[in-house]
Structure formats: structure tokens, C-alpha cells
Subunit: 326 residues, 2 copies
Amino acid sequence: MTHEIVVIPGDGIGQEVTPAAVDVLEALDLEFEFVEADAGDAVAEETGEPLPQETYDLAAGADATLFGAVGETAADVILPLREAVESFVNIRPAKAYPGVDALRPETDLVFLRENTEGVYSGHEDRLSQDVSTLTRVVTESASRDLAEFACDYVAGDGHDGFTIAHKANVMRETDGLFRDTVAEVAEENGVETDEVLMDAFATHVCLDPTQFDVVVCPNLAGDVLSDLAAGLVGGLGLLPSANVGPERALFEPVHGSAPDIAGEGVANPAATIISAAMMLEHLGYDDEADAVHEAVETTLEEGPHTPDLGGDASTADVTEVVIDRL
Amino acid sequence: MTHEIVVIPGDGIGQEVTPAAVDVLEALDLEFEFVEADAGDAVAEETGEPLPQETYDLAAGADATLFGAVGETAADVILPLREAVESFVNIRPAKAYPGVDALRPETDLVFLRENTEGVYSGHEDRLSQDVSTLTRVVTESASRDLAEFACDYVAGDGHDGFTIAHKANVMRETDGLFRDTVAEVAEENGVETDEVLMDAFATHVCLDPTQFDVVVCPNLAGDVLSDLAAGLVGGLGLLPSANVGPERALFEPVHGSAPDIAGEGVANPAATIISAAMMLEHLGYDDEADAVHEAVETTLEEGPHTPDLGGDASTADVTEVVIDRL
Ligand SMILES: CC(C)[C@H](C(=O)O)[C@@H](O)C(=O)O
Ligand SMILES: CC(C)[C@H](C(=O)O)[C@@H](O)C(=O)O
């Protein structure tokens, strides 16, 4: 069965790391049909529109989308694209790799971030000169979808359960509904959970990240706490992510378009290649996914390394070695 | 001039560290009149009310309030008390001390957290079985008050300016108003600012905390990011804070009531004593404030240490030595 994969390189180093990940996928000789699409600052400058309707429609119709990075217009591109693939969960592994400097080398976490609502549902008003408001939305149904996904996730991957991170001591109704629904679904499924306030999580994950494993949280909490975990493993450079919906999904490195090094051909392709491995897993190619994960891990451990990791290899050098190691 | 100081020990170790800080204040022989008041889980169990009206009124009328810690009912106590003193800013220094293990010993940050609104203004609704909402409020006036305070703060303390941390790429109207107002006030006052997204801050502060100095942020961002900084300096145990209003203020350690060690007389009083030093500064006793800061810092560096810092001294031992060093 042929899979249609939409590829959206975007801006800056997105134009370098995305083709690198496609090269790795092509080396696997699977039946993928790649369709390239535009989005980001460059398109916005030409057309006034950072996310062309055509790109949106392609993502909304494809089996999977591989996304690179976008500059200033990131929110205008990535939020609608998450919607296009009807993604209800953003999977964000944050794992330290041997061979890469990390503040907490023992970090090995996975965030399952609610991906449709919270402050991102985005209803804002300017009520008067002085007063602005934002309506934060939390629904039982979205919390339930996330929780069911989380239960499958921890069952499939041999985890002990998951931690619910929230701020229900202040957001009693909304985060209270989130916490209670997620805990209830877990109980129905025989999955163990514990809970932690998101502020306490921020302290404790620094003191000892091994206290946590899979962390389920509302949208903004997931955004901030997973970026915090990125700081513990040595930066955003290595973090992959998956935006998963019922039928489609979009895969993207957590890093941005890095305009400071764009065009030099030295961007680290690891996060995008690992995102591509998550895509392989999602499409059912488990062996191929494992092979890519292993090839990247070996390369992180043994080199060659791009300059961000202290080496002097190019994006192409690293990609070639990863492909050789498949 | 006699100052009336309301003292609210609260629950757990609050009952141990608050009297310790009062002992230090009394040793200074200033004209303070201490009035003790109740709040917390224990009172709630007796009376059904975690924050007695009398306590609220005392805090609302006193020059300053020294607060210990409260257990499960923390939000029901501390949020109204911040309101009682009309606090518009929560000052949260996060500094690593020589002699104390820290993940990032070079950390020396001060968070100026908006203290009245954001998600804390707390209007929540359950619109239907499925849907709950919270109205997040950001006003120009509260943003302006915070910004004016921040400008004075950085001028008085010889900082270069401050960083505005926000999430205006998603919360465009509300955090946009916050960011724009704060930046505008800073410009009017000739204070330099830069800005950073709160998620990016979470990564970057781990990678290099010396990039930042004074960080001005909305309420929940300040809650989470300052707790993150606590993780970098070795935990909440040493962090003081001040809730400052136009006429009154409330000082509290950032840590909680620590039921696991309560009653043993070994709680670390440092955070509460440093909070008392912030109170002295606030009341205009700059020399005494410096003396207390120095006495605590020397004690953190040279001991004696309570068990949380690897020692076997009691709360009383540490307090006595701090007093001797004044
Ligand atoms: C670009 C921005 C809207 C986005 C988010 O807040 O989700 C980004 O920070 C991320 O985490 O992918
Ligand atoms: C107890 C809670 C309501 C409070 C807050 O969220 O402000 C606490 O976390 C703090 O930071 O003082």
C-alpha cells in the first residue's frame, strides 16, 4: 500500500533538515509518495498568507505529514496544521542521548500534550481600553480522547502508568475537569496514575527527572513543561514530536527555523530524522522505525556531529552516515 | 515608629520556621509589634474556614505580614491574603548559594510576577456536561502597575533592564496587551527590555541561566517559571518571596508545609528568614536587612545545616547561629 506523505520544509534550517529526513525515508525503499508543500515566512512574504489553502488541504488529506520549521509565522502555520490533521495529542519525547551533553543525562520522559484546546482554543476579546480576556476551554470529550490515547500508549510501551500534571488548585473547574476525566479513564482501563501540580513538576523534574516517565497534561502546560525537559537534555536540537489524530498525523522537530545558521548546511538533522522514525512507527513500519532510531542513536554517540554538538560535520555528512547505518 | 507585623505560621513546618524568623526579627530590637493569626488546614478542620475573617482583616490592616506555609488549603488562604494586602507584584528571587548543591550554581534571577489576574482572576464556568471555561483577564492597568514597579526595581538595584516572558504568539490579545504595555512603560522610563516566549525561556534558563536577570511575567508564567528556577538552585527550600501592594505587603517562603518532616524541629528556616529580610528592606530597614541576608548566607555556606542540606542541625540550632552572626 502506497502512503502519501506531505513534506513541508518551511523556513530556515527546515529547508535543510527536512530533505535530510526524506533521504533517510527514501533509503528504506518503502512505498511512499512524497508531495512537497509550502508554508512559512517566505510564502507569507510572497503571497501574504503563511499557510496556503493548498498546503492545508494536502495535510488534511495525506496519511502523514513531515514538517520542518517555520520562522515568525510559526503559530499561524503549525496551529492550523495540527487542526488539519485533527490532532488531539502531541507526543513529545524528551530523552537524553549518550554522547550529547545534558544537564540531566538520566532524563527519559514522554509528554502527551492535549492538542486542541486550553488557551489555544483562542477566543480572545478586548472588552475595553483597559481589559482583555481569553476564554480557556477544557472539555470532557477532549480530555477523554487524550486519556484513552495515554492508556494505550503506556500499555503498548511497558510503562507503569502516567502522571497527570495540571494546575487544578487554581483552575478548579477547567483543570479539575481535565484531571478528573483523565484519572477516571485511567481507572476504567486499569492504568495507574499519579498527579502533580505543574509548578511543582517544574521544580521536581529538575531535581530528579527519573521520578517521572509519561506525563499527560493540558495544552500550554505541555508546551512549557516539555520545553523545560528539552533544557534538561541539552536543548531543543534533538527533540522530535508527533501530532496525532484519529486518521492522520503530522511529525515535526521541536526546534525552530534557526535563522542564525540557516543556509550553511550544518543544521543538525537528528530531531527531524527521529520525527520521521515516529512517523514510520505510526504507519506500522515498526522494524524500519527501530532501525532509524538506532542509526540516529549510534550517530549521536559515535559521530559525526554537527557544530551544535561540538563537531564539524555537515547536515549531509550526518545524514549519509545515518543512512549507511540503517 | 512602631510597625504592626501580622504573623501567620499556618500548618506543618510553618509552625516551626515562622517563629524562627520572628526570633531573628526580635533580636534586631526594632519597634515591631507582632500579632499572631491563624490560617490553614488545622483551622479549617476546626471551623470549616481555612482563612478566618479576623486573619484577613489583620493582614489588610497591618504594615506587613509574615506568612509561613499552609497545607491542602493553600490556594484558599494565600490567594485571598494576596488580595488583602492589595498585592500587585510577587517578587521571587531565585539565587543559588555557595555551600548548597545546585544544578546550576550560577543562577541568580529575580521574577517579578503579576499578582492579581491572568488565570488567577478565576472566573470559571461549567457551560455543559462537556464544556468548562475559564476567563483569563489581562488589563492594561495591572500590566502598567507591574511595569512601573519593575522599572523602579531595576533602577534601584543596578540591573541592566529586564526580560518580559510571555506567550503572546498564542495569547495574542491578552499577553500581547501585557507585553506591549510593559515594554511601553519601560521605554517611557528609559529602561531596556527584551522579550522571550515562556516556553523558550524554560529551555534557555536550563541551558544558561546567566542569560537572564530580572524576569517580568504574567501570573501563571511567574508561578511556573520561578518554580523551575527553584529546581536549578536546589529546590524550594531556600526561596523567599514578597507580595507587595501599594501600602501593605506579605512575605512568605516559597516552600509548602512539608507534612513529612513537620513536628520534628528540623525544618530549614532559611527561606522564611530571608523573607523576613525582604520585609525589613520593604519597611526601610536596609542595614538590618543586609545584616540578616549576610548572616543567613554565611550560615548556608559554613553551617550548621538542617537535614535537607545534608546536616543534622535543628531549626533552633540554625536560628541561634544566624542570630549570633547578626
Ligand atoms: C509556535 C507555537 C504556536 C507552538 C506552540 O505553542 O504549540 C510551539 O511553541 C510548539 O510547542 O510547537
Ligand atoms: C498555592 C498556590 C495557589 C500558589 C500559586 O499558584 O500562586 C503557589 O503555587 C505559589 O506559587 O505561591
